[in-house]
Amino acid sequence: MLTGFPMTVPADSWTEQLRRGGLELAILLAVAPGTRYGLEIIRHLQEATDLVVGEGTIYPILGRLTRDGLLQAEWQASAAHPRKYYRLTDAGTRRLRVMVQDWRMFASKIDRLVQAAAQEGGK
């Protein structure tokens, strides 16, 4: 359990870190078009990505994003049982814009490196 010394990150761990890093952005993107409740967000992410490994992972993050003022939560009664709906706040919209921009820049830089490595390797 104790870590702190530099070492090579195993492939599984690297993928896990990448997945965790993308999850907050994915959740904000899921509620960007309109309000969604927890299970709806999970379904949306499961359809489009493999980011959600444990369904319970989402709820603590939703709670934190709400406390950080990026999401607004509201309980609404439905036919079967009440649901907690989330929507982006103005601060959340601004944050999402920055995150998407950062993500695109980061991805394009890594892509360039991958292409350069592939071209050099092909010589």
């Binding site: 319970g56 603590p60 049982h81």
Partner: protein
């Protein structure tokens, strides 16, 4: 799928365990809101599940996808306890957040241990100061046959032992205790603020 009595009791058991674990770290109302949301998730998943011959297996599958209640509680507590401690600064909230971090990360454990030693040292000094008015003859510098044996509070003084400078020891203990408490609490709050800021850059509960 409609749950049988046994299935219903399994769901209630899961929620009970989740709430019990959450209450260790979180305020009652915050824990109740989290449990309500998870219950809503379970009810909806149960409703959309096709009736199966073995309800127990279906329910196990559903709850496994959510994660064990203690792990889910740990993820909640690591996220929420820190925020509550940072925003309120209260001693109880700070202690809950430190416990949550100590249970979740190696660094949290090390820092929590160091801070615990600080809090205990402060408490010991303040107890020495508080005991002087209650046991006026048992607090001070202890001497036996002219040889120094220690300082502080001794519940029972053996025959031949002399206790001196009691009020000085009380005053110094009170001042040192207060300073140690202030410094330790300040360090704890600074650490929690740091954790909170870093987490915004590195999302995702560590325990799931």
């Amino acid at each position: 799928m409609n749950l049988s009595e046994a299935g219903e009791s399994r769901v209630r058991g899961y929620l009970f365990m989740l709430e019990s674990s959450l209450r260790t770290f979180l305020r009652r109302d915050v824990a109740a809101d989290a449990v309500r949301e998870v219950e809503s998730h379970i009810r909806e998943r149960v409703r959309e599940t096709e009736p199966m011959p073995n309800e127990r297996d279906a329910l196990n599958q559903l709850l496994e996808a959510l994660g064990p209640p203690h792990r889910l509680a740990r993820a909640y507590s690591a996220e929420m306890a820190v925020d509550e401690a940072v925003s309120s600064g209260r001693l109880g909230a700070t202690a809950r957040a430190l416990v949550a971090l100590a249970l979740n990360t190696a660094r949290g454990f090390a820092v929590g241990l160091a801070l615990l030693i600080g809090y205990l040292a402060a408490a010991a000094l303040l107890i020495v100061a508080a005991m002087k008015p209650v046991f006026p003859d048992n607090v001070g510098l202890r001497w036996m046959n002219g040889e120094f044996r220690g300082a502080g509070w001794e519940l029972s003084i053996p025959p031949g032992m002399v206790v001196t400078h009691g009020w000085w020891v009380m005053a110094i203990s009170a001042v040192l205790g207060a300073i140690t408490l202030w410094l330790t609490h300040r360090a704890a709050r600074r650490y929690l603020r740091l954790v909170s800021e870093r987490r915004q850059l590195r999302p995702g509960p560590q325990s799931l």
